[in-house]
């Protein structure tokens, strides 16, 4: 049997993943046409490459459909409630850096900390009759972060894209989103809360703790680990 490795199927994340493995003596490539989601691995025998959506890789690891997978820390922690038990991080890959942050409008000059945010949320609810809305797609991570910080009177509203625009459109009062440079936030007149860093994320190679490993697959995994450590 072969060791199944899932990597992101498109864009810079895929290219950088290929480069990362190439530096470590493993050539990953797409087979067939640009549209086909199958690939090949040279350098170690017995590894099968699967090109998957980065968002699906956490679940595939957790269900044991793949043995190894490349995806961001943010997606693993958002999608897998018990990620420490389900996956092991084999290597942080040094790209795809992104911070999940909380950001509020620049014009909220009175809000720089979570303590401020909590006080404002209470006042906002009293004034407007509804809880202060936080637009995000990272519901679980943001909720756990705010619960832990003791922030109350907020609500999460789902936003799967163009999250920074929700404040101007008045569908949310603030956002929780991934940022790399802060450019989009600035352009949308938003600022990051001083203690509002929910998670630092980067592309990471994960191993499924749930998948079954045959003796051959174990030996392939050992060879791979040796190569990565070299």
């Amino acid at each position: 049997m072969t060791l199944k490795l899932g990597v992101p199927s498109k864009g810079r994340l895929m290219e950088k993943t290929f480069v990362w493995f190439a530096k470590r003596g493993l050539q990953l490539s797409r087979t067939g046409s640009e549209r086909e989601y199958a690939g090949a691995v040279e350098g170690i025998d017995g590894i099968e490459l699967l090109l998957l959506s980065a968002g699906e890789i956490p679940r595939e690891l957790a269900s044991g459909n793949i043995h190894l997978g490349v995806t961001g820390t943010d997606l693993v922690q958002e999608k897998l409630a018990r990620w420490e038990q389900e996956v092991e991080d084999v290597a942080e890959m040094g790209f795809g850096f992104a911070d999940l942050i909380l950001a509020v409008p620049n014009c909220w000059v009175d809000v720089e900390t979570l303590e401020d945010l909590d006080a404002v949320a209470a006042a906002f609810r009293a004034e407007h009759g509804h809880r202060l809305r936080v637009a995000t797609k990272y519901h679980r991570l943001v909720r756990e972060f705010l619960t832990d910080a003791g922030v109350a009177d907020y609500q999460l509203v789902d936003s799967q894209g163009a999250t920074e625009g929700t404040v101007k459109n008045e569908t949310a009062e603030m956002v929780a989103d991934i940022t790399t440079t802060g450019e989009t936030l600035r352009a949308n007149h938003l600022k990051i809360l001083g203690d509002g860093l929910v998670l630092k994320s980067q592309a990471t190679l994960w191993r499924s703790r749930v998948a079954a490993y045959s003796p051959e697959e174990k030996s392939t995994l050992r060879k791979l680990r040796d190569k990565l450590a070299a």
């Binding site: 006080a119 519901h139 909720r143 619960t147 003791g150 999460l156």
Partner: protein, 360 residues
């Protein structure tokens, strides 16, 4: 233990609660999510299953009975009223695979204006009776004492309401207390704001208007010159939160604390009356544990007497029964009405599990 064993025991318990005076009520399994979200905030999403349809919007699989039972009573209940119910509740579990996400609760709730101490004792005694013979420890507390302590602090209404709002979030409560006691430094960002050294040229976006920002700045400026909460009150409050003794000793101890926090005296009178009512019902009050901070982390709608029964030999199990007083909840759900209320729930599955162990 099969599901039918659990339901059979639930039926038996409900029957006993009926004999005690409870009128049987049923509630829908699907509850409108908005009511629960307004009450508990976003945290409830981590604990309840949410589903939805295009017609009714978000619905939750009933995470408890108390809210719908209170709503039913407030809509068309006679007074006084006693209710009992049995059925499944659903709790989302994201971290502990050993915790059930679906289990049966049997409850008993009392809506009665006449004698709060008597109603508290009635509920506690009834639950203790159902659990007789099991190796359980009863814990009791009283959130009302803590609330009275906060209300009586010699500080501004704004500070007191901030503390009141976070009684159920001990970490934020602690942080606020440290801030109001002047024990932590004012953050640089706040200093700059108070000194007027902030750039207010950013365009106003979003629903929170400039007037709201200005109102908060004014409130912060006013708060900056307020004296810190006095040491003797702070020490008394902290001593109070740490009280953990058998009831008679706890009561004595809290009377001492009341020298510095006299606002808790009426709440202590109520506790004294409860102790008498419990004693009159044959409860061994002298060995009953009392923790002033009990119920602060898990029982957010309770605002007076709280209790729970725990299997000390099985720390992995959740409490077998819990309950308490929730006068404020009836106000929140009552649309103008309110009535003192106290009640509790019991888990037949845990009773059966403990009985099975006893028989081994």
């Amino acid at each position: 233990m099969t599901r039918s064993d659990i339901f059979a025991r639930a039926a038996l318990l409900r029957q006993r609660f009926e004999i005690a005076g409870g009128q049987v009520v049923e509630t829908p399994m699907l509850q409108p999510a908005a009511t629960l979200l307004d009450l508990y905030g976003e945290d409830i999403r981590a604990r309840a299953y949410v589903t939805s349809d295009a017609l009714r919007g978000e619905q939750m699989l009933r995470p408890d009975f108390t809210v719908p039972v209170v709503q039913q009573h407030m809509a068309d209940g006679a007074e006084p009223a006693r209710y009992t119910y049995a059925g499944e509740v659903f709790r989302r579990q994201e971290h502990d695979p050993d915790r059930s996400n679906e289990y049966v609760q049997v409850g008993y709730e009392v809506f009665d204006r006449t004698d709060a101490a008597e109603a508290d004792a009635e509920v506690f005694a009834l639950f203790q009776l159902q659990l007789r013979g099991l190796p359980l420890r009863a814990a009791t507390g009283d959130i009302g004492i803590l609330m009275a302590a906060v209300d009586g602090l010699s500080t501004t209404a704004m500070r007191k309401s901030a503390l009141r709002r976070h009684i159920w979030r001990p970490r934020r409560f602690r942080a606020l207390l440290d801030r109001f006691a002047g024990r932590v430094d004012v953050p640089e960002s706040r200093k700059a704001l108070l000194a007027g050294e902030v750039d207010t040229s950013a365009p106003v976006i979003g629903k929170r208007r400039r007037a709201e920002v200005e109102a908060r700045i004014a409130a912060l400026k006013a708060d900056a010159v307020v004296a810190p909460i006095a040491d003797h009150e702070l020490n008394a409050l902290e001593t109070l939160m740490a009280v953990r003794e058998t009831l008679p000793f706890a009561l004595e101890h809290m009377r001492d604390i009341a020298v510095d926090l006299p606002s808790i005296l009426p709440a202590l009178e109520r506790l004294q009356a409860r102790v008498a009512a419990l004693r009159a019902r044959g409860i061994d009050v002298d060995s009953l544990d009392f923790e002033a901070a009990y119920g602060r982390t898990s029982m957010e709608y309770y605002d007076g007497f709280v209790f729970g029964f725990y299997a000390d030999r099985r720390p992995d199990l959740p409490p077998v029964a819990t309950g308490g007083r929730y006068d404020a909840l009836t106000r929140q759900l009552g649309q103008g009405g309110e009535i003192p209320a106290v009640g509790g729930v019991i888990r037949p599955d845990l009773i059966l599990a403990l009985e099975a162990e006893e028989n081994v």
